[in-house]
């Protein structure tokens, strides 16, 4: 396992796309060199007491040669708002890479079922699978066309990207899970990763329990530290007592092993 570092890093570039999402490219060589798919960083771009805790974000891509990595952040509350206004050249404090990297790539076909900021979580995995010449099918869902996230990156690394919008402004007018079900029926995928929607998580878990696919969830949870100190990021185990820690045992979990919140 790559051992995380805590470093002052530099913001190399910042771009908003689509509206309400910022892509930050950050220079920190060790994180860029050691990060793997599924891992995240804790980021702090402030010295204030409010916000005070660092925030967790998935590593969208890491470039070991250039020593940079990329985040895609949905502007939600005060921490993400502050991060979205940082100027190029600003300093940030980053801890990472954190969490377990995905290391099993033996599936015959992988589907990535994502929505909103959840798309950011699977780009690294898509890149890794495409380098291994493993088929990747992405189902990218959003309320409307202008809110599709990380689209270009996912198109670059996937064999196919299927768009689903709630209002039908692009692609399939309806639920992304319908497209997933179709891919499974066609025998194209035996493994599914999902992020960004509780509904998707429940659907994938049901498929996993029915033995139709191996299902995996990228989980979120209020994080204080990202490295096992605070026990804040608990998620209930399914089928046994107790909790996992998202930051140490995840953030990617086999769907049947955890309780999905309604």
């Amino acid at each position: 396992m790559a051992v995380p570092v805590y470093r002052k890093a530099t913001l190399v570039s910042r771009k908003e796309s689509p509206r309400g999402y910022v892509h930050l490219v950050i220079r920190e060589e060790q994180i860029a060199r050691t990060a793997g798919p599924g891992q995240f960083v804790m980021v702090r771009g402030w010295h204030t007491g409010d916000p005070i805790l660092p925030r967790p974000f998935d590593i969208v891509l890491a470039d070991p040669l250039k020593g940079v990595f990329r985040l895609c952040i949905k502007v939600e509350g005060k921490g993400t708002r502050l991060l979205s206004t940082l100027k190029k050249g600003s300093s940030l404090y980053v801890t990472g890479p954190l969490g377990k990297s995905i290391t099993e790539f033996d599936s015959a076909g992988t589907a990535l079922l994502v929505r909103g900021a959840g798309a950011a979580a699977v780009v690294f995995l898509a890149e890794t699978l495409s380098k291994l010449k493993k088929p990747v099918y992405t189902v990218l869902s959003a309320s409307t066309k202008s809110r599709l996230v990380c689209r270009a990156l996912l198109e670059e690394f996937s064999n196919d990207v299927f768009i689903a919008t709630d209002d039908g402004t692009e692609g399939y007018h309806g639920n992304g899970t319908d497209i997933l079900d179709q891919l499974i029926r066609e025998g194209k995928v035996d493994t599914v990763y999902t992020c960004g929607s509780h509904r998707f998580a429940r659907h994938v878990k049901a498929l996993d329990l029915a033995g139709k696919v191996k299902g995996y969830l990228f989980l979120e949870g209020n994080m204080g530290c990202g490295m096992g100190d605070c026990h804040g990021c608990a998620v209930k185990k399914d089928g046994q007592d107790g909790y996992f820690l998202v930051c140490m045992d995840g953030p990617v979990f086999r769907s049947r092993s955890v309780v999905v919140e309604p």
């Binding site: 051992v3 805590y6 005070i52 404090y93 209020n222 100190d229 026990h231 804040g232 990021c233 107790g242």
Partner: protein
């Protein structure tokens, strides 16, 4: 070359002595983690070695395994955070087998934090820890609720006295009473713990509070209430230490919102013999290392040869 000011030079040329004595145990420096806010593992070892700490401590253990509270367990607040972790615990057996030996191997004195839900549990746990021979000090986390009365052990003087004296009478290990600030007058509780035989005090545990999630229109924490920690509580904690130092002779380990050397020095001047860092470990994993180094620099700059010279110095006589 100009003449040097030798009086200053003499003082700064030798590095100040950072060691302190807590209940007969020598801490190489006065900085340790607060229970429940720092793990000893490979991740943390890679930041800096926990062998550099003044002492090490575990997250409070109970006799039997417990799962902890349902999420959300933490919530950020201005200059602090609320937590209602509920102290998940593997129980004494696993702790003694897997975790305690790892703490012992590090080098610094080992403080073992324990809690009981009943009087019998306190005693059994204390005796089992002592029997391992791997602990130097026992810290009683008295903020956890007493099952029969449903309120924390440290809320009432009588209960506090009962549990501290019971443990003290059964073990030879020096006992630290970790006090909850959610009382009318913490100096009274400090005095009570001393009278009951505590060899040192840890002050303070978190303050009770709550937050409401305005999107969900519900309490933010799964447990409804939680404990407030972080810089938000620092002035309250400094006052708690200062007021206890006025009335007890036993050493105090001060904590509450320490984010670096300046805050730690405040506690030392208020009367703490050592300090503990909790929440700030989450924000900057180097906080304890920075604090140790900053205390050393402060002592050198201010012309002190030992940290012991500044303990309680702020008390107006």
């Amino acid at each position: 070359m100009r003449m040097q000011d030798f009086s200053r030079d003499r003082l700064t040329s030798v590095s100040p002595d950072l060691s302190v004595d807590i209940a007969g145990v020598r801490f190489p420096n006065p900085v340790m983690p607060a229970s429940g806010a720092y793990e000893v593992d490979e991740i943390h070892d890679n930041f800096f070695s926990p062998s550099e700490l003044g002492a090490v401590i575990n997250k409070t253990i109970f006799l039997h395994p417990r799962p902890g509270n349902p999420p959300p367990r933490i919530w950020e607040t201005p200059c602090g955070m609320l937590n209602a972790i509920g102290i998940p615990s593997d129980g004494a057996e696993v702790f003694i087998r897997d975790k305690l030996p790892a703490l012992r191997r590090l080098g610094p004195p080992v403080v073992v934090s324990i809690a009981g839900e009943t009087m019998e549990e306190w005693i059994e746990l204390a005796e089992r820890i002592e029997a391992t021979g791997m602990a130097d000090l026992l810290e009683l986390n008295l903020s956890c609720p007493n099952l029969s009365e449903g309120i924390p052990w440290s809320t009432e003087e009588k209960t506090l006295e009962r549990v501290v004296s019971a443990v003290v009478s059964r073990v030879k290990l020096p006992v630290i009473a970790k006090l909850s600030p959610v009382v009318t007058d913490i100096a009274d509780m400090a005095r009570t713990a001393e009278r009951a035989g505590a060899a040192a005090l840890s002050m303070i545990n978190t303050y009770k509070g709550m937050a409401i999630d305005i999107k969900k229109k519900r309490p933010a924490l799964g447990n409804i209430t939680g404990g407030l920690s972080g810089p938000a509580i620092r002035p309250l904690a400094v006052w708690a230490v200062y007021s206890a130092h006025e009335v007890v002779k036993i050493p105090i380990i001060g904590m509450g919102g320490i984010d670096g050397p300046a805050a730690a020095i405040e506690f030392l001047l208020a009367g703490a013999s050592a300090v503990a860092v909790g929440m700030y470990n989450f924000i900057d994993p180097f906080t304890m290392k920075r604090t140790i180094e900053g205390i050393r620099t402060y002592l050198a700059e201010e012309g002190y040869s030992s940290v012991r010279e500044i303990i309680g110095l702020a008390h107006v006589k």
